[in-house]
Symmetry: C4
Subunit: 284 residues, 4 copies
Amino acid sequence: MKKISKTIAASVVRPRPAHSHKGNYGRVLIIAGNHQFGGAAIMNAQAAVQSGAGLVTVATDLTNKTAIHARLPEAMVVNYRDNLAAYVKKADVILIGSGLGDERDVLETCFSAISSEQTLIVDGSALSMMAAFDLALPDASQLVLTPHQMEWQRLSGVAIAEQVNQETNQAALQRLAPTESNTSANNKTPALVLKSEATQVYLKDDVYQLTVGGPYQATGGMGDTLAGMIAGFAAQFAPTSSAVLAAVYCHSAIAEELSQKAYVTLPSKIAEKIPAYMKKLSEE
Amino acid sequence: MKKISKTIAASVVRPRPAHSHKGNYGRVLIIAGNHQFGGAAIMNAQAAVQSGAGLVTVATDLTNKTAIHARLPEAMVVNYRDNLAAYVKKADVILIGSGLGDERDVLETCFSAISSEQTLIVDGSALSMMAAFDLALPDASQLVLTPHQMEWQRLSGVAIAEQVNQETNQAALQRLAPTESNTSANNKTPALVLKSEATQVYLKDDVYQLTVGGPYQATGGMGDTLAGMIAGFAAQFAPTSSAVLAAVYCHSAIAEELSQKAYVTLPSKIAEKIPAYMKKLSEE
Amino acid sequence: MKKISKTIAASVVRPRPAHSHKGNYGRVLIIAGNHQFGGAAIMNAQAAVQSGAGLVTVATDLTNKTAIHARLPEAMVVNYRDNLAAYVKKADVILIGSGLGDERDVLETCFSAISSEQTLIVDGSALSMMAAFDLALPDASQLVLTPHQMEWQRLSGVAIAEQVNQETNQAALQRLAPTESNTSANNKTPALVLKSEATQVYLKDDVYQLTVGGPYQATGGMGDTLAGMIAGFAAQFAPTSSAVLAAVYCHSAIAEELSQKAYVTLPSKIAEKIPAYMKKLSEE
Amino acid sequence: MKKISKTIAASVVRPRPAHSHKGNYGRVLIIAGNHQFGGAAIMNAQAAVQSGAGLVTVATDLTNKTAIHARLPEAMVVNYRDNLAAYVKKADVILIGSGLGDERDVLETCFSAISSEQTLIVDGSALSMMAAFDLALPDASQLVLTPHQMEWQRLSGVAIAEQVNQETNQAALQRLAPTESNTSANNKTPALVLKSEATQVYLKDDVYQLTVGGPYQATGGMGDTLAGMIAGFAAQFAPTSSAVLAAVYCHSAIAEELSQKAYVTLPSKIAEKIPAYMKKLSEE
């Protein structure tokens, strides 16, 4: 198994070309936050914006609008029950699922609207709903799944105790590839970020082990910030597989830095430090 | 009487084990904040999150939701009038009462739903309602009461002037033990944090005197932050009695540090400094 | 004319006695902020809390509640149209008028409820309404008026050009003393903080000139922060006349310090620096 | 083509005269933010306030009120559907259009109410609506347009590829002068801030090239902060043409400074740094 090294991350987070505009850095749509879990949408969005995504729109339960804008005026906010398909079609990268609860209609509308040109990241409640309602992934261009161990068990059927077995996970992952891509299934096998105290990333050919980070990250919302970073990185950097590795690395590397002076590293504090960390990394 | 020393606090706040996840650090449910006193719920929650609780949910008057998320996206927010018993049952630690006003139904629903496996911390308005409506404590595993002197007078019948007498307080405290535990009353005698300018903590066998802190803490909301810290510490550290001592110590020790540069130390500023203070303490 | 010196301010802002609690630092009720000017209530309250008032309650248009709590969980928030008289009666210091618009009922309810044991500070729209509706000051224990020059012209009938004449201002001020105190009018003559680029404070026997501060303070909301500081200081320090001088001094002295690194010194930034400035001052 | 030099900016941002008050620094009305794009109004307002405008009022969709006040109590907030003409008439500088969506009534009400004594800045959605509905500029005293390249194409008919041609842009700009000023069209030709990765400013006689800033600014909301700065500068400094140049310079110069330690420079972070940058500039 390979390590997710700082070298990999630094090869992704390069200085921006002098001649570029926000259109070059992608449109991200975040579909997250039901009426109780609006904080997840905030953490998603804050991480995506701080990562440098060109434009970030949050489709959410409308009762979350004011809190999002109070923290992050850079994000646009729309009602996820109103015309969601149109917002999905305009995005380059869609992140769905953090704090989404059991909003099945929202999930199905999103999956139906996605085209084969777009990147789709599926997190949290969306993964649980996929398992509960037996929903298949749509035929997006790039697919990324970000379950923690229990969500992976639900989605893949691989029990937590068996998740140490890479081949089992890889086989399960291939079965999750969208059926439309059956003839060339390999291409559409999703990337998997399997979150645990020792997070691993499964890409097409390799499995990568995260070796930074620590128990100061064991607090609610940590995954929401990571998902937002993955979306922000995927909007800016290609290929998506490398963007995912870099986001996973940076997320925990920032936490590790913060942990020098903090017993627990809150997700919103990690988000605030993204621009400074990316700047340092881009100069290495 | 023993002092609540830094040594005691440092023996509680130890470095986290490398292999751990948010499930190891507890689910905290905060039931607080009526339609006027939402700030109390915010200060509870901010303190619990910054202390490192694994997951924090706030059950509150719904008009407080946006302000809570605008300050603290890490917390989940639910309506305390809707299905409260279910949220109580899912928690490891329940803190009830800060800014709760006269929401008697909320208090009774909570007390009815608590099981003997859970830790219950009772603060502020909940203590006053217990006195006013003659409500008994439920048979939780661990019980902590956090009155100021007037609330203690109301609850225990011990007049403020007589609260200097430890034995009187201890006797009153034993009478407050849940009736279900009558046969082994001693085990269920609550811990008492008796807040004043010279706060004391009554545990089963001993009384402890706080010797840090000062008049810069004499401002509204100070107790809400302390209650949130006690909840956050109780979710992470055992036994609960030690967690309470450590939280009480850290709260005032942080205030004392801030007071080097502040005439008054606001509760929300104390909360911001918790992770840094706990980190330093964990290295001693 | 005397100068408002740092020596005066330092004689007021003394170290707090070791044995004291929030009850010693006063209950402040702020009645401010109609549906458009909620920012004024926020700035009032932030300044009062940061100044060290024991407890701060804001009575306001309810649409301002969430923004107040999002910035300042230490404040309680109530509806100024619901049971206002009861809140007035419970306060030690009442500040009314910042951003109050034309809420005449609110003003009259407040004036009717005030007793001769309380301190009343009248600011902004409340002063304009007193002039427009010919309302007399109630017979509070201590009265403070904080008009800018145009408001003083409206209230006193003294044209701005004539406000250089101290005796004219003093005579007008005596006419504003509450009629109930006619037999000993001198005692109830209000203190006057006449705000301009060269603010003056009229007390019973003397007129004081402010000599710190500058044009970096020429921005909206500056007076709301000052009014909140006066309320916070009046709640803690006696006599009220000295508390007013100290608050006026500290407000502009903080701005002057900030102006070393800021072209304009925003009211909310001044509020944040109050505890640090008061600490330094208390050590002189 | 001339450069927008630091010298130009420093000649505008001079130390404030000692004797001045907020009336000297202008009343700014910001008309921005429909129900989805409230963040634009926040970024406008934050930039105008931090730039030192005397008074800032935001006319917006009312659902944006709480988020604005939670971030910026210094701003007043009114409903842009209620009595807008009256608010327009009271302002010295009006900025309209950021995040305004398709609120055509709001735009037309504003244009109808503006007098020939006022400064009007037209941004974002207002420019697109002018193109879509063939609306002419009103006869304000000073007119400033702040399109990005696509908005300029829509408004002027000059395709992006042809926007390198200064004379084409200038001719198009003259055609946009308000018809009421036909007899002396030159006087009313708007100033044009043509935003791109190499922003240019067209004034009556000259075209200026911005040479600070960089790709770290390529993120959503950057233009909203710039528009707010232009409004704030135009409220304080004359002539308007110089104020525009100085605002454009300062906006990107602050971003350039921040970029030393940030991969992406968020609009709200730029706004926070305005007072410090203007102070330094005023001392050069």
